[in-house]
Amino acid sequence: MATETPLKPIRVLAWSSAASADWALVQECAAGSEDACTRLVTDHQRMVYQLALHLLGDPQEALDLSQEVFLKVFRTLPQFRGQSTLRTWIYRIVVNQASNRQRWWRRRRRSQQVAIEEHTAQHGELPDVREFSMPDRVLQERETAGRVWHAMDQLPFEQRAVIVLREIEGLSYEEIATSLDVAVGTVKSRLARARETLRLALVHQ
């Protein structure tokens, strides 16, 4: 059976010009320019916040993490040597910070987890989502998204990070490897395991 060869998006911006723009921005920030710092945050805040949200699954946690990430970026800016793109360098910081935070978050969540029976005994039955007057398509999409998120939430952090960077952020294997500071082969194996786990989880739900 014939399949279409997947198309890879081509970057319009050439590497050299992107790198030099990054480098100039970093130099300005390191020199203490507040405008440059604001520009760096504005340019990357959406990316950082989305990635944090996909890794942690909580908007408030994602916001806190985003602030931590940018503070870390500015503190360690003098160490940026331009060996990777600024974007990849920031991805790495996000993943590292999220990894540290989710360990603490999971411990805390486990200790605060309440059984569904206990919750309904205290607060009554959970509201049925169908009570809201939403179109069926929207409800179905939300339900699917909830299932996918639940399945992803069960993945080990390393696998979740790889799948988020690949499927949502659209990074290449090489960029993922740089962001996670692992070999490309490790990226491949983690991605394969994550997809297999997700497939099984979604089939059985």
């Binding site: 059976m1 690949r166 499927e167 949502i168 394969a192």
Partner: protein, 258 residues
């Protein structure tokens, strides 16, 4: 055409589905997938899982709250000012004892400098009856002579201070004292003659017996003369302890003013 086995391409199916294969690897896996229904389904499953995740991500997509950039920049600015303060505080704390020690040394130096300047530049008013004035006068040119004496049989505590006549012949206790000095000077001269010719280091054991005995006798006499004992005055009237030659008549020590 050689057909690739499913097992040999299984590990590359994810990379194939993601478009991460190049060159020979891509051709090899592509040829197999094109002709293998099972592997085609595997590739489709991988792509559909990815598509499902991307679609679901649209539901989770939240815009970052406004003010994130300004909040971060404000925190960076605050941290940066705090860090300067912290650096200064740490520096002051680390150099605490060095600063204290340096301050003490500097204070000592300044005090010494100030006192030295006072001593050098300040005008001291001379006191005629001061001890330093008396010592200065005693070391000056010849003048009147005084002697510390006591009566025979009196205690050493009852020493008197008497003025002697120096313009005329020595009187009272002086002849005996002066004679003693003259005698000692003669014995020393005799000893020098006895030892003359023996080189810079005179050795009694190496001398002839007669000269050795003479030298020993002279040494005994000189040693006896130099014992610290009060000389006996004429007619045993006074014991003389010490003589003072006062340089001029301006000595104003209490009780000595003429």
């Amino acid at each position: 055409m050689i057909r690739a086995d499913c097992d040999s391409v299984r590990d590359d199916l994810d990379a194939f589905a993601d478009g991460e294969l190049r060159g020979d690897e891509l051709r090899y896996v592509s040829q197999h997938v094109d002709s293998c229904i099972r592997c085609t389904e595997e590739v489709e499953i991988r792509r559909s899982v990815g598509g499902l995740i991307r679609e679901s991500a649209q539901q989770w997509r939240h815009q970052p709250p406004a003010g994130l950039a300004s909040g971060v920049v404000t925190r960076v600015r605050t941290e940066s000012s705090l860090s300067w303060r912290a650096v200064l505080n740490r520096g002051a704390e680390d150099w605490h004892w060095i600063i204290v020690g340096g301050g003490a040394v500097m204070a000592t130096f300044v005090s010494t400098l100030f006192c030295s300047a006072l001593l050098l530049l300040g005008t001291a008013t001379p006191r005629a009856d001061s001890l330093s004035a008396m010592v200065t006068n005693l070391q000056s040119s010849p003048g009147q002579m005084y002697a510390e004496v006591s009566r025979p049989g009196a205690s050493a505590q009852d020493v008197m201070f008497v003025q002697l006549e120096t313009s005329a012949e020595p009187a009272g206790a002086m002849p005996d004292v002066l004679a003693r000095e003259g005698e000692e000077r003669q014995w020393v001269a005799l000893l020098a003659q006895t030892l003359a010719g023996g080189g810079p280091l005179g050795q009694l054991a190496a001398m002839p017996e007669k000269e050795r005995k003479q030298a020993e006798w002279l040494l005994d006499n000189i040693a006896r003369m130099r014992r610290i004992e009060p000389a006996v005055g004429p007619m045993n009237t006074l014991n003389v302890y010490r003589l003072h030659l006062v340089t001029n008549t301006e000595v104003t020590a209490k009780g000595l003013t003429p």
